[in-house]
């Protein structure tokens, strides 16, 4: 049995135990649902989110919990599919859980957020970056990560001012996240006077990109921005190298994890990725980083610290507002600021962070990354 199976099993068992325990001691625990992909092609990101949230729960419990009550993390698997996300959201409603740290993919976060808004459940997503999520005018929805309209321009500005490609291609996976960010990049480079020669969508799950690569090669493309996740980009990189198409590639944080190197191998060397700043490198987080390392977990993933911050903001708000009422907590969160591992955070009225910085990294074939000087 591999670790993945054990994770599922432990999630299932803990969910079962929790639901039993919940009956007996409903008053003594505060449950927080952590919803994201535990299985499926982008489960790596779910791992980051789960490990960040679990660490926060453990540490807060070790310090005596919240107002004498213990926190419980209830892990929920949405496989990053909109349908599954709604099913999970319904389960959360039925189990009377009032706080959610999740979801992860923008496409699954958006439909789930509607349900949370209607049911008065507080949701903080540590990963979904689509601007549309916070444009719905919802009161219960927050995020501890930047948005594509911050990330896209960062990438676009870098392309326009530093790379200055002769022929730029923008490719995306036609998903809410991938296409959204690709459009932001297009907008930014167009404003700087660069017109992409190609702007095209591929299919999620597509494996053969040879026709597209041939086309880009013929057009003399020397720089490609890809909006989407790593499985498709990994194959794109690999097949590009194979065909002798040597343009430089760049992608959003959805491509920045170890698997891109596992799939693309040497072809992942030199890939540019916009990621949240590496919070694990912040000296203020040294103790926390050590706690992760003691448990043999990697704190450097882009969603680990935002997930930790999500849990922490909920508990800090419960302490500060002296209530467990989710609607009142949402008001409190909007009005106050919180000291978290991702820095001191405050929210805008729509639930977005007031400030969030994306940094450009260069990816290496051994799955490490180094910041790029702008």
């Amino acid at each position: 049995m591999n670790t993945f199976n054990r994770n599922i099993l432990s999630a299932a068992v803990s969910a079962a135990i929790l639901s039993l325990g919940g009956l007996a001691q409903a008053e003594d625990t505060i449950k927080i649902a952590v919803a994201g992909p535990i299985t499926g092609p982008v489960a790596q990101y779910g791992d980051m989110q789960m490990s960040g949230a679990r660490m926060a729960v453990e540490q807060i419990n070790a310090k005596g919990g919240v107002n004498g009550k213990k926190l419980e993390a209830v892990l929920m698997d949405d496989v990053c599919e909109p349908k599954q996300a709604v099913a999970i959201a319904n389960q959360i409603v039925n189990q009377k859980i009032k706080y959610v740290v999740g979801h992860l993919c923008s496409g699954s976060t958006q439909p789930a957020s509607t349900l949370y808004e209607e049911e008065g459940i507080l949701m903080i997503t540590p990963a979904a970056t689509s601007p549309a999520i916070t444009q719905q005018g919802y009161k219960m929805v927050f995020r501890t990560i930047g948005t594509d309209d911050q990330q896209g321009p960062t990438a676009g500005r870098y392309i326009a001012t530093q790379v200055k490609p002769k022929q730029l291609a923008i490719i995306h996976d036609k998903q809410q996240y991938g296409e959204g960010i690709a459009k932001e990049v297009e907008k930014t480079v167009k404003a700087a006077g660069i017109k992409p020669v190609l702007f095209e969508g591929i299919n999620k799950g597509q494996t053969d990109f040879s026709a597209l690569i041939t086309k880009m090669k013929k057009e003399g493309v020397d720089f490609v921005y890809y909006g989407g996740y790593h499985p498709e980009l990994g194959l794109l990189l690999r097949q590009s190298k194979e065909q002798g198409f040597d343009a430089k590639y760049m992608g959003p944080e959805g491509v920045g994890n170890k698997d891109i190197s596992a799939i693309a191998g040497p072809a992942s060397e030199g890939l540019l990725v916009t990621l949240p700043a590496d919070f694990s490198a912040d000296p203020a987080n040294a103790d926390l980083v050590k706690a992760f390392k003691d448990q043999k977990q990697d704190p450097s993933g882009p969603f680990v610290m935002p997930a930790y911050a999500g849990v922490q903001i909920i508990t800090d708000a419960i302490k500060g507002a002296k209530t467990e009422d989710a609607v009142k907590l949402a008001e409190y969160i909007r009005k106050n600021s919180f000291q978290t591992p991702i820095g001191k955070v405050a929210f805008r009225d729509n639930g977005d962070l007031k400030a969030f910085e994306f940094v450009i990294f260069e990816w290496h074939a051994d799955a490490t990354k180094t910041p790029v000087k702008e």
Binding site: F4, I202, A211, L212, K218, E242, D259
Partner: protein, 309 residues
Amino acid sequence: MSDFSILEFIQQIINGLTLGSIYALIAIGYTMVYGIIGMINFAHGEIYMIGAYVGVLVITVLGLVGVDSIPLILLATLAMSILVTGSYGWTVERLAYRPLRGSPRLVPLISAIGVSIFLQNYVQLGQGARDVSMQPVLTGGWRFGPEGGFQVYLSYMQVLIAAITVAFMAGLTLFISRSRMGRACRACSEDRGMANLLGIDTDRVISLTFVLGATLAAVAGVLVSMYYGLVNPFIGFIAGLKAFTAAVLGGIGSIPGAMLGGVVLGLAESFASAYLQTEYKDVVAFALLILVLLVRPTGLLGRPDVEKV
């Protein structure tokens, strides 16, 4: 879009033929089963997925023990994958379709969809839901064209895919047209009841059909795992759908039709990607299917009198 380039055109044909070969190999499994028992085996895509998994596992294990001779890796992987995948094909027929023989046509169809879902989840539980990736075994290729300009690239792997596809298809054609079992297959396909009366063990023939279909799916699986190097439990769905389309396009029930359908579909996708937008490649592929079916409802080569198995 800049000017038309003949070199790019040639490159797109190479791309399309490679993709089409894979489709064709899988399509034959659909078409053979349909030819004999008139049923669409929707679990066939999953059989292919299992073939791809076995491919990745065997290649990885061989890599660990230090085998680096490409012909040896290829032979061992194909043999292993055909063995495992063939026995899945046989078992699926035995458990899910044979008990339902003689029941209304919808029943085995539902059973097939059930098997497909079962196999997806079974592999997911056994191997994990994540993508399993592998570095390429065979790299390199030939380049043609002006130095510094657009060069046509033909990789060894693409040649290998085409060669293996042709070899297996020739073998299958020979088997069906020359061997005793092949004749039994043709007899069953023409009239199963009559073949039975004449002393042909039709159950055996049907089992054989499933194993043959699974064999070709295994070959496709191994080639895909070597070419793309990425498998997950869900690749069977899309590949199965495309191959099924190829089979219908070529004329379901006809083996040459499945080969032609696969190649036409591969080329159509490649050209749509090249000369329209990549977004439209599936639109073009399926529009082509509808168009062909409107003009020739039996598909490109699907004539009633055509040899079908």
